[in-house]
Symmetry: C2
Subunit: 552 residues, 2 copies
């Protein structure tokens, strides 16, 4: 039963809060110190009863050490979650990084059976590796249907562009994770696919009628619920025809009436991060926390101020604005979820000690490697296999989002070293570099800024969060036309955004060696690049002077 | 005694080999796969008796896990070493990164007592953190005297530019490390300071007479030996007046006659890495290994092929080209060194299990932080404190060596975000970016490639290995003259190379806010930048749109 004293109440309410922490061990290693608690703060949170941690950054070894340590700071079994939609390696070095879900969606179009098997293996890979590292809750699958090609934040994170493929693949993924006794999360309810706005930056507005949602966006959620998904994440999305004032995260109509009552969801409801601008721009943390809880959420993710969030909810319970039974229900749902994955083991200190002795150098199994290779192979689009011409002097022009940190490019990266072997010297353009553009909308590339010679162009672009519409402002289609006109386009690869690729092939001469892959990881680079340069041994020969550019 | 059978002999010879491994847990995380063994290969080496590992890359948590795991693969106590001359953080994220030794050398000029205390604390910091991570041998102090301003590889790694300061500070450093029961290494015998060539790339030639060496280069080595340094690393340096044919690493005259007989060194002699080009360009690995061992080296560092190195030395012993007693002597020296630091603990599996339970989130102690701050404060040179003018539109122009990976710049880096707050938008120039240069030797910067407005210039340059003379080819002095002439230089910071700073101040107008620091780490950036921009609170206010450039 619920304690009536304030300390006891706070401890119970704290159990519903998920705080953000770095996966790194030390405070100085935190990548986003403004968002990630120090170890001292984190320990205090755990001692005050906070019930969950979402982790970002670090290595698998650190993560295992970290979850172990944080659990020791608490006297209750904790939820440890992470945004590892595309593999543990997406956030934690050492884990496997897969291709984005959209790669499976593309395979589904031609080989639905293969795709379903791949999606299940995809989930199993993430679930198994998550468990080794001490995570017990994976914030996936994404159940959004990406039906807006200008969607800046879902894009390749979606399993597809129609309700059937998303539903079928997300269910298969869910089976894979669940087989490893790790909790799952369908997100972002009621569907973030049909927006051209990133809720990290502002509140997306969706004006579909409920009846339309039921025929489209809600299908994957409903199917996942029927399949037994453990949690649903509500999104910062304003559904004007359902609740004209409050985003789904804070809306009783959406969370309780639609999700719980109409769709019959009995598991955990978790909000999307309350630290996101869609919320912080419009609500204080106290108000947002109370509203989310009152709306029907069980777990409050990343409140910008943990103390204030807890105190605000406590006050709402004491003043009976929110009935105390709501707290009891949420706590029960949390307990049930943990029981489902046998979380009692986590409270046994001896078990924890044994876990640390694992040889974590073998976190990736052979089947994971096969899965990566299969995803790469089956989702690669080769429009013209080349080979790209070897030249005396050319440019390997690479467009990336950010350089610091960037795990996609490094001294082992085929997109860098292979073209170097064929005479194309690497030049990387990125947000912090000298701009490649000039003020000429028809011929936007300032070619004087590059070395002379033909250009092998590689575009890494995939609607990353927080970037807003920045990507769309770069005139790559025009640039490609300009290069073709000047007979300077030696070849092209697009990594990530399928809609950019579609726009490009409308203008791209069929004579140009070119390829598209939904992935950006080394394996995707290797496959695309080695195909275009005529699959040969030079892939493994890396020039010494190339390595010198990296060594420090 | 030495076994006569080949397997037994190989196992003994293997004990003298130090192989290179990544500090990361998994094979796919290796940063230099061409130089770092896979886990399978590494395990095999350990099972065959290899006696030591040099580790590069990873985090402190990973390193602790790693040394523990590798030790379990062996049946003898292992040497675990690393090039952590400037702090554990130099190689392993999570450890403290200090300022380069030259910062202490600069402090020594005015405050010798302070500098000596700092150097001892410097050693203690590295020794303590090394031990926590499972390292038992630190490849420092550098005993080279940097008396060549064009030295591309020693530079700020030296403790000073004269024999006295290097000697005094290296001794203090050695006391600090030894106090933590961690082995030390004086390098690079007989002195790498007076070269303008990097032995990673080619063999430096030094034509000093022995008598001159004794009056200068050898002094710090002799003093360290008298102080009880545990090991000496011989360098790939051709001393034409002592051994006209063989570099010190492979020279009996230098290793045995000079180092052992004349200087009386009784500890471990280790070669510099045999994988370096100074060696591989001129010798096969079999020949180099035999020669190094015959010359008097006890330990062979990073042979490019471990099996071949072991077999070659075995054959030389069997054929009695090298007397078997040499092997016995080297093994004894190794055993003695390990005994000195109580390495028996390492063979006790139970002890290892206990080590894993450490809370490694507190590897850095308060005294380490104080040391960093003191080094930063005392070595900072402010020529004109500014403040730098706030502008509507300016450029924060940053020159760095490499972008991938680069631990110096990130979303927390003051050199990036602080100038942004004052209107200077960051543009980074680096080896893989669009060049800032044009073909005009008097006005080499192509200003059309930058945004309009005044330029706040930050140069990160410090003679990193493998870069050869590349740094010197960049005409920064001319560029500064050009910017001054165009009245576009808003301010300047040089991080690292003191000789570049000296050249710059010869032309720099005294009216320009400017600073030099030997360090490149965040703390050095913070101090330099916050001073020039008028030490105020904006240091902690980071614009949201700035963070968006990083998040992915």
């Amino acid at each position: 039963m619920i304690e009536k004293d304030l300390v006891g109440l706070k401890n119970k309410v704290a159990e519903l809060i998920i705080v953000r922490a770095s996966g790194h061990a030390t405070d100085s290693q935190r990548e986003y110190p403004q968002w990630e608690l120090t170890n001292l703060e984190l320990r205090r949170c755990m001692e005050e009863g906070v019930g969950g941690v979402i982790l970002f950054g670090g290595t698998t070894i650190e993560l295992e050490h970290r979850t172990n340590l944080i659990q020791q700071w608490s006297n209750k079994p904790l939820l440890f979650c992470a945004d590892v939609e595309e593999g543990i390696g997406q956030r934690f070095s050492g884990g496997t990084t897969l291709l984005p879900p959209m790669s499976v969606g593309q395979i589904y179009k031609n080989n639905p059976d293969d795709a379903i098997e791949l999606a299940e293996n995809y989930g199993r890979c993430i679930g198994r590796q998550a468990k080794i590292c001490g995570l017990n809750w994976v914030l996936a699958p994404v159940c959004d249907i990406n039906n807006n090609i200008n969607n800046p934040v879902i894009n390749v994170r979606a399993w597809g562009e129609d309700s059937l493929s998303v539903s079928v693949l997300a269910k298969a993924f869910q089976r894979g994770i669940s087989s490893q006794k790790v909790l799952t999360c369908a997100k972002h309810f009621p569907g973030h696919g049909n927006t051209s706005v990133d809720s990290h930056l502002q509140l997306p507005i969706i004006d579909s009628e409920l009846s339309l949602l039921k025929e489209f966006e809600l299908i994957p959620f409903k199917d996942l619920i029927d399949e037994g998904v453990d949690s649903v994440m509500t999104g910062h999305l304003l559904l004007t025809n359902i609740d004209a004032y409050n985003p789904a995260t804070l809306s009783f109509s959406l969370t309780t009436e639609l999700l719980r009552n109409q769709l019959g969801f009995k598991g955990l409801v978790v909000t999307d991060a309350l630290s996101m601008k869609a919320i912080t721009k419009n609500y204080g943390i106290e108000k947002a926390s109370i509203m989310a809880f009152a709306a029907g959420a069980d777990l409050i993710l990343m409140p910008s101020d943990v103390e204030k969030a807890i105190d605000a909810i406590c006050q709402a319970l004491i003043s009976e604005k929110i009935p105390i039974q709501r707290l009891q229900e949420s706590l029960e749902r949390r307990t049930n979820a943990l029981a489902k994955i046998g979380a009692k083991e986590f409270t046994d200190k001896k078990q924890q000690l044994i876990r640390s002795q694992l040889d974590l150098s073998v976190i990736e199994e052979k089947e994971d490697r096969r899965l990566v290779n299969e995803l790469v192979k089956q989702s690669l689009v080769i429009r013209n296999p080349g080979p790209v011409e070897k030249v005396e002097e050319g440019v390997n022009l690479i467009r990336i989002d950010s350089i610091m940190p960037n795990s996609l490019l490094g001294n082992k990266s085929p997109s860098l070293f292979l073209p170097e072997n064929f005479g194309y010297k690497t030049t990387i353009v990125h947000y912090f570099g000298i701009s490649p553009w000039r003020n000429n909308s028809d011929e936007p590339l300032d070619l004087d800024r590059f070395q002379k010679g033909p250009i092998f162009l590689q575009i890494f672009m995939r609607g990353n969060p927080f970037k807003g519409t920045r990507d769309n402002q770069e005139p790559w289609v025009k640039a490609i036309q300009q290069l073709q006109k000047a007979q300077l386009l030696a070849g092209l690869v697009v990594y990530g955004n399928p809609y950019l690729w579609q726009k490009i092939i409308e203008v791209l001469h069929s004579s140009i060696p070119s390829a598209y892959t939904p992935g950006q990881i080394y394996e995707a680079q290797t496959k695309a690049i080695s195909t275009l340069f005529g699959n040969n041994n030079s892939l493994i020969s890396i020039k010494d002077n190339f390595f010198q550019a990296f060594t420090d």
